[in-house]
């Protein structure tokens, strides 16, 4: 993608330190995502990948460091403001509103100020075209969907915000191969629509395939940063940090 024109980062995370109670989780994470860019964030379990996303989303407050969105500081802003500014969040456990219908789940992101009925319709049409199963189940409670359908709903719900970036936390975890390739497709679709993605994954081949750049984390810091095409699944670096 036209990287030269979009060189200024959309999200810039600088030296982020985050604690859960007394345990120091992030020890100075620095990374950035350019507009429309898919960036992978790899690492073993418990190295702070999810915490990095939560900190960007304002769900966890960093003790040090800063987050910028389009050059403006957003550190410490409440999550609902960040969502309105264009950060979509798809958490690891999907967090579907289980008692709300599929349609109501989508409406949580759609009923914003300044969204015309026409716009709402076109956003809904778009996700229903990508995820026909959601259209079929629009009046069904979110909690009754299968895991893969819930994942689709979580992504579709974030898309209702017309985000500039989506923080995607392990979207393929626990899904059947067919679902995985569907999620993989939607990442490409979002990429074509110029939505940036910060993708946290355990699935290394998928991440290397979908992303332009990859960060590898270990023990709360970024240890390695490379273009995805320069890494192979069986790379020594991958082996060193991920043990695959």
């Amino acid at each position: 993608m036209n990287a030269a024109a979009n060189d200024a980062p959309l999200i810039a995370v600088d030296d982020l330190h985050t604690y859960y109670g007394k345990s120091h989780i992030l020890h100075g994470v620095t990374l950035h995502v350019r507009p429309g860019e898919v960036v992978g964030l790899l690492g073993r379990n418990g190295v702070g990948k999810s915490t990095t996303l939560k900190t960007i989303m304002g769900l966890v407050h960093p003790t040090e460091g800063s987050v910028q969105l389009g050059g403006n500081p957003i550190t410490g802003m409440p999550p609902h403001k960040l969502a309105r500014l264009g950060i979509g969040y798809v958490p690891e456990d999907r967090r579907i509103f289980r008692l709300l219908t599929v349609m109501e789940n989508l409406r949580t992101g759609l009923d914003r100020q300044g969204v015309t009925e026409e716009k709402k319709r076109s956003l809904l049409d778009k996700v229903f075209a990508y995820f026909p199963v959601l259209a079929e189940r629009r009046n069904q409670a979110g909690g009754t969907l299968s895991g893969g359908e819930q994942q689709m709903l979580a992504i579709a719900r974030a898309m209702m915000l017309e985000p500039r970036i989506i923080l995607l936390d392990e979207p393929t975890e626990g899904l059947m191969p067919r679902m995985v390739s569907q999620i993989r497709n939607i990442v490409d679709v979002l990429h074509q629509e110029n939505v940036a993605i910060l993708l946290v994954e355990q699935n290394v081949p998928l991440t290397l395939e979908a992303s332009e750049r990859v960060y590898i984390m270990e023990k709360g810091v970024v240890r390695h940063h490379a273009a995805a095409r320069d890494l192979k699944v069986n790379d020594a670096v991958i082996h060193q940090y991920l043990g695959v």
Partner: protein, 297 residues
């Protein structure tokens, strides 16, 4: 012959009268409990000041009625004034405590209840005030002259609860309230201004309590302790109905009120209250998630 004897022995007239009574008190109770369960569901706050919001609603009703002579205006203004007061209380005492130990919010709302009660005592004195009912007609129910107003209370409470339910089901802000109730963190991440939703939910609950205070005012005197009995019953209803479950609370309110009404055919009304506690204890023992809650999938 045996069967006929039994059928004659049953006081059908009393049962019918008590059914009407039970539904009337049940609807009032449901209106109070709806607010309580809404607040608990969304904020995990057990609002010990709920009875005082009910009481203040009745007092605001007394004052507006005295100045304007219009019951409906009194109902409307009391609801709005107490809803605003509820918003102020939520912002001042509960918002800073969000996510802390539940004990802190219990103490905070208990403190608020003491302040409101003593304010009412200081402002209005210990003598009970009277709210004149807006319609005074009666109809004959067996040997009783039954006031139409009581039926009107039931109808109005049902209308308010029905309106509230429609708002929750279809309204944009209703969906925000339900989403926030289910998952506060994800609601925030979807751009829902959760602190504002909390304040609004508390205000709605307070307004509903105030409305029931005004509606119930004509049946009993308005005094500074009138909230105590009702809030106790509302708590029982909320627990029996499944904490935070609106439909369950409404069903439980009517169920318990009917049981109490039937019991008072044979025992004194003061003893009939025991029925509520028996139901509460049995619920806690055998179905602690609530009587009227579908088994979670």
């Amino acid at each position: 012959m045996e069967l006929t004897a039994i059928l004659y022995a049953i006081p059908w007239d009393q049962i019918l009268i008590q059914t009407v009574n039970g539904i009337v008190t049940g609807m009032i109770l449901a209106l109070i409990a709806s607010g309580l369960t809404l607040i608990f569901g969304i904020m995990d706050v057990v609002n010990f000041a709920h009875g005082e919001l009910f009481m203040l609603g009745a007092y605001v009703g007394v004052v507006v009625l005295a100045t304007t002579g219009n019951f409906w205006l009194a109902l409307l203004i009391a609801t709005l004034v107490v809803a605003l007061l509820g918003a102020a209380i939520q912002i001042a005492t509960l918002r800073p405590l969000l996510g802390r130990d539940p004990l802190t919010t219990i103490l905070a709302t208990f403190g608020v209840s003491l302040i409101l009660q003593n304010y009412a005592l200081w402002q209005f004195g210990p003598v009970a005030r009277k709210i004149q009912e807006p319609i005074s007609g009666r109809f004959t129910l067996f040997y009783l002259e039954y006031p139409w107003y009581r039926l009107m209370i039931a109808g109005l409470s049902a209308a308010i609860i029905g309106g509230f339910w429609l708002f929750l089901k279809y309204g944009k802000y209703g969906i925000w309230i339900r989403a926030t109730t289910q998952d506060r963190v994800m609601a925030q991440a979807m751009g829902i201004p959760v602190p504002l939703v909390h304040t609004a939910a508390f205000a709605i609950g307070a307004g509903m309590a105030a409305a029931s205070g005004v509606l119930f005012g004509p049946l009993v005197g308005v005094n500074h302790t009138m909230g105590l009995d009702w809030v106790l019953k509302a708590f029982i209803v909320v627990v029996v109905g499944g904490m935070g479950n609106l439909g369950g609370s409404i069903a439980a309110a009517i169920f318990i009120s009917l049981l109490e009404a039937y019991a008072s055919i044979w025992v004194s009304p003061a003893q009939a209250v025991i029925v509520s506690f028996v139901v509460l204890i049995l619920t806690l023992l055998f179905r602690p998630t609530g009587l009227f809650v579908p088994t979670p999938k």
